[in-house]
Amino acid sequence: MLVEACLSGNPTAFGVLVDSYEGKLFNVALQITGSRDDAMDVTQSAFVKAYEKLHTFNPSYRFFSWIYRIAINEAFNLTRRKGASSGLDPEMALVKGDPEQLASEHELRRQLHRALGELSPEHRVVVVLKHLHGLSYREIAETLGIDEARVKSRLFGARQRLRQVLEKRGVTA
């Protein structure tokens, strides 16, 4: 609906789309690039590309899959250009829970972020889409343009690697 409104000349429709997806795209980009500045560049670039290519969006697909894919590709391209990211900024995520829990979980959070940073961008993105954005296998498949079996196998590999990294560091998740 919003895409159609935008293509029909409604000047505020694209702004509503930006409102809806700015945070999500920024977080995906942040997890892939590991840098706030790069994530901002990626998010901006993804919205510009989406706006330019809006007429090519196929409404039989979900908009979030389409725009996530643009952002993820932008993030991958940026990390390839700059070389693999060296890890995630430990301050870039928060922890759910009450203040007492925060202290005891701080170390786990820090280690988890470091371990996530050691995953390849391809592995990291499936973990982020699954656990941070709560997408289903099918939604991840649509977003990444791969089949569900591939999503499952990539996610399995990513989680195994994550656990290995944590175990190697003596962290029991």
Partner: protein, 246 residues
């Protein structure tokens, strides 16, 4: 069952995608093997740890950056493209954008009747408009009437909105040219032909009558409407819709 199988089943259960049969297999394994049970608990803890990661708010400066970058782009779909469109649904935006200033007061001045020498390209004005003229409703912001008159296509554009309205007519390149423009009143309107397109711009309520000459009539004319630079609606007018008036 290998460690890999256990891990796969554990994640499938935690993801909620495990089959009934595998679920039962996993339960049996966890009940029978304490090391498998410990491994499952470790995986559960990892899943819990991942669930603690929550999105962060984007920096405040990001949104204005996006807005500026988007505003600076000129996507292909916003540039003039000749295509058959649907007038109706898009007019909702015209209504939203234009009707606000278009109160019921009619500010239009009468258009002088100049319907004397059609063959020479003189104007047919609103008052001389045939009843069979095609009238396009600009969503309450005005109307555009079109009709054929021999070798000419006559337009009677009546705008009530206080915004700038632009009407663009496109046909086969080089086939449209302006014969005459008569402004009927209001703050102003201008018309210009540039190759394949004739552009009429109004800057407020008013009326404008235009005679176009056509070189060939086999193709339709695409009418596009914009307000304050924002594309609003598009419709292709087929030759047979313009009728014949002599």
């Amino acid at each position: 069952m290998t460690d890999q199988d256990l891990e796969r089943l554990a994640w499938e259960r935690l993801d909620g995608s495990i089959s009934g049969e595998d679920d039962a297999r996993l339960d049996a394994l966890l009940a029978a093997d304490s090391s498998a049970s410990l491994r499952f608990e470790a995986i559960q803890e990892l899943a819990r740890g991942l669930s603690m990661v929550v999105p962060v708010s984007p920096p405040a400066e990001l949104r204005p950056r996006i807005d500026r970058a988007v505003a600076a782009t000129s996507p292909r779909w916003r540039r003039p493209i000749v295509r058959v469109g649907v007038w109706g649904p898009r007019l909702a935006y015209l209504a939203a954008g234009l009707v606000a200033g278009a109160v019921a007061v009619r500010l239009l001045l009468p258009v002088p009747v100049l319907d004397r020498d059609l063959a020479s390209g003189a104007m047919i004005t609103g008052s001389a408009r045939p009843t069979a003229a095609l009238e396009l409703d600009l969503g309450g912001g005005g109307t555009l009437a079109m009709w054929r008159n021999g070798a000419f296509v006559n337009l009677d554009l009546s705008v009530q909105a206080s915004h700038q309205v632009e009407v663009i007519l496109e046909a086969r390149p080089g086939s449209l040219s302006i014969e005459r423009v008569t402004l009927g009143g209001g703050p102003g309107a201008e018309a210009a032909a540039d190759g394949a397109a004739v552009r009429i711009r109004t800057t407020g309520p008013g009326r404008c009558a235009i005679a176009l000459s056509r070189d060939g009539e086999e193709s339709g004319i695409v009418v596009r409407v914009a307000s304050d630079g924002v594309f609003l609606a598009e419709r292709e007018v087929r030759p047979e819709e313009l009728g014949v008036h002599r």
